[in-house]
Amino acid sequence: MNVTTADDTTSTGQAGPLTGTTDRGTWREFFVEHAIKAAGISMIAIVGLIFFFLLREGLPTLGEVPLGALLGTRWYPIEELYGLIPLVIGSLLVTAGSVLIAVPLGLTTAIYLSEIAPQWQRDILKPLIEVLAGIPSIVLGFLGWVALAPLIQSLGAPTGLTAFTGSLVLAYMALPTIISISEDALYAVPKEYRDGALAIGATQWQAIRMVVLRAASPGLVTAVMLGIGRAIGETMAVMMVTGNAANMPAFGPAILFEPVRTMTATIAAEMGEVSQGSVHYHTLFLIGILLFIITFAINSLAGRLIGGQEQRRKRGQI
């Protein structure tokens, strides 16, 4: 019975004039279209609300604490010292350190995997890297604390809980992202390009450097940016291993080997203790705004880099 009905509908639809949609089709389309629209609008609304909330809770600080004090070098809320500089520097140090470690390591690993490693090594390493990406950051932080920190202390640092320890843990977190996305980008470069380069008399390394890497560069930039993005966002692991000292590090060659505290870690550590509406509370939100601005800047920079690369690639300049 059902089958007959279905057949009837179909044949009627085919025989009739092509007037567009049946009643049922129109209704369904209307529903789907508006559901998607509603979802999109509420996403925008939620982001807007979050931003509004951040501003409402964070901006009052600017009236309560003089700008000069916010730019001070001591973060010591109990004594009403709200210098943000050490936290910003802590974040910068840890992130920059992790990028310096993770990017070269990640890219070379990806090049090895896609261009040099025999198939059986790829078969083992690829899934292994995906598994590494799935380890929760708190576990990595714990490992950094019990294993990495003592190691770094034994190398001569006064304490093992330093910016460098944080950089290592973050680099480790960013690596799977960087490796697997850039490996995909390299693997997607057609074999014909490599053959073309080799057939002219290029060595394998020249073919990789001058053709494959250039062809894959938009993907490689994406990989690095996503890797950095992951590193910046991590709070808990870093909180465990950087020593959590909101001091100005002493500038010098050993700057990475001093305890620091990042912006994210500060928010996470202190949010539970502040009374709502206090100056301290507002300042923590100001840090949130600052983070938001930094992340936004990095993302749009990445977007522009990738967009620019895409255009230059289309014009053949890469």
Binding site: Y193, A199, I200, G201, A202, Q317
Partner: protein, 251 residues
Amino acid sequence: MADIIEVRNFTFFYGSFRAIRELNLSIRANQITALIGPSGCGKSTFLRSLNRMNDTIRGTHVQGEVLLDGQNIYAPEVDVTELRQRVGMVFQRPNPFPQSIYDNVAFGPRVLGMDRTQNLETIVRESLEKAVLWDEVKDHLRTSALDLSPGQQQRLCIARTIAVRPEVILMDEPCSALDPVATLRIEDLMRELARDYTIVIVTHNMQQAARASDWTGFFWLGELVEFRETADLFSNPREALTEAYISGRRG
């Protein structure tokens, strides 16, 4: 006329599969040699053996010799990159790099360090002129090679190959991705190039072999059945197999 390449008792294996068997053949300098035969008979494999492009495929090995100007290219002391500079290759599908027209042609001179002793722009210009592409691209050398038509891309690949001044140019069905007009332009170009270079071309197109080559070799199941001057092979094949193949395909 001198032989530039001499192939002696050449056998080629993919793993344990023997794709070419006991092949003997001489290729004349400054002539166009066409290789024909049904798909899978080993034409590409043989062509790629002449500049050792098959080295990039794991598990292959060879027996016998391929002499280039009297030197066995499979001898252990041979530098493969130098061999490939001397014996260049144009592929079935045009494969310009996703870079500018200029950078494509300059690629070879750069990797071989030719730009240290010679003017790179001159090399690029001369190569594009020889490939009869210069007039079409001279005003936009910095734009992407991928914006060219397939026929132009293939001529760009030829320019890229001759930029390193090879002796031999191998072409593996270079027109199979092109329309008839672009195909004829490449054939004219081959004639021009044969003054300075030796050309070996694989083609599935019998008219092309008949039109464009001086010598033709007919491959069948990994063996070279017949190898003669093109006019003779097509008008008066010696082997029944050749006869059947060329008449079957013509009709």
